[in-house]
């Protein structure tokens, strides 16, 4: 057992001793904190899609190769769920839908930069679109069945295995964002820094309703150069894209 692993075990024992939501204080916390990786900075999915958008927020030619997206990797759906996905794809109102934030796991590969804010008790994934995931690493388990309900970002608990954050997520509301899975989906992630300017999130989904077999992808992130602070977006401040006569359009300046 190396020193870092030994510290982790000691920290975990302290958490248990303090109760599920207890916090070790002082030197123990500081020593454990010092063992955690430094992922400060801002990151964007290095998928050739999200890190290729221009200042228009789109590509110059409008054509985006969606198949490059890691969260849009083909899934082995059950026949019933494949029909459900196909119906969503053909929904004629889809083009009229306006986004006001992205759900998990799509938020991990969105057009926005994101940051990993690491503390001993939790790692927060903060996206510029104002989506936030709280990944609790204080030793707690998921809430009991009567205390948890589906949300767009689910309930996440994690633990550090050396410099790798292992995350377990449940209770994610189904959405039409890829990968389309059911409320029964169980997500596991292994997030690690593979080089000073690169982080990878290996994501696996198991879903007894939607998937014939586990779905897996790896989302790589590159460090965003020249950005020294988080600047959040907002979908309502000056929305000039109303739907008129069943079509999205552009309204004059107010």
């Amino acid at each position: 057992m190396n020193v870092r692993r030994a510290r982790l075990v000691i920290f975990a024992a302290l958490l248990v001793a303090a109760g599920s939501f207890g916090q070790p204080n002082g030197g123990d916390r500081a020593r454990f904190f010092a063992t955690l990786p430094n992922w400060t900075g801002y990151w964007i999915a290095d998928d050739g899609v999200m890190n290729a958008l221009g200042v228009s927020g789109r590509t110059e030619h409008g054509a985006v190769d969606y198949s490059k997206m890691k969260v849009n990797a083909p899934a082995s759906y059950t026949p019933e769920w494949a029909a459900h996905v196909e119906a969503a794809r053909k929904d004629p109102t889809r083009e009229l839908h306006k986004e006001c934030g992205f759900p998990f796991p799509f938020m991990m590969e969105s057009p926005w930069v994101l940051q990993f804010l690491i503390t001993p008790e939790e790692t927060a994934v903060i996206v510029a679109g104002r989506e936030i995931r709280h990944i609790y690493t204080d030793g707690r388990k998921h809430p009991s069945a009567e205390d948890v309900w589906p949300t767009p970002w689910g309930d996440s608990v994690g633990k550090w295995e050396g410099q790798e954050l292992r995350v377990d997520t449940i209770a994610v509301q189904p959405s039409t964002f890829p990968p389309m899975v059911s409320e029964r989906a169980h997500f596991t992630e292994r997030i690690r820094m593979v080089s000073p300017n690169r982080i990878e999130d290996e994501l696996t989904i198991e879903d007894p309703v939607a998937l014939v077999r586990a779905w897996q992808t790896t989302i790589p992130y590159e460090r965003v150069a020249g950005l020294d602070r988080m600047v959040h977006g907002d979908c309502q401040e000056n929305d000039r894209n109303p739907v008129v006569d069943g079509k999205l359009t552009i309204a004059p300046a107010r």
């Binding site: 221009g54 200042v55 789109r58 849009n72 996905v85 794809r89 057009p111 964002f177 000056n238 000039r240």
Partner: protein, 123 residues
């Protein structure tokens, strides 16, 4: 099982998400229009920044065009700042126009100042 796999594959590729605040289907990506005019207003706002441009038209008229850009963070990452454009600036803007020609608007592609300098960070 094979049928399920194929259906799943098609579904995944077809479930194209809307990346930005809204679909970009309203823009004609096969055409580009170059607007030369005077900045009336530069809206540094979410979810989109906008250039309001007064463009001389035929017979001495002036057309008011709206140019849609990304969110402030996306512009900032691209080298733009709230003060990059000011009312009265003469600029040339290339856009992908709205498919509905009655809407004087389009999607930003590039812009140059009156001195010929391309605005924003260069690749």
């Amino acid at each position: 099982m094979r049928a399920a796999r194929v259906a799943g594959l098609l579904a995944a590729l077809g479930a194209a998400p809307v990346f930005a605040h809204h679909s970009g289907a309203m823009f004609d990506y096969d055409r580009s229009v170059t607007l030369v005019g005077t900045v009336k207003q530069f809206q540094w706002t979410n979810p989109h920044c906008w250039i309001e441009l007064s463009v001389p038209g035929k017979n001495g008229t002036v057309e008011e065009w709206s140019v849609e850009m990304g969110a402030p963070l996306q512009l900032y990452q691209g080298g733009w700042k709230p003060g990059t454009l000011r009312p009265g600036d003469e600029i040339r803007v290339v856009i992908r126009p709205n498919r509905d020609a009655s809407v004087k608007a389009g999607l930003f592609v590039s812009a140059t100042g009156s001195d010929g300098r391309v605005l924003g960070k260069q690749p």
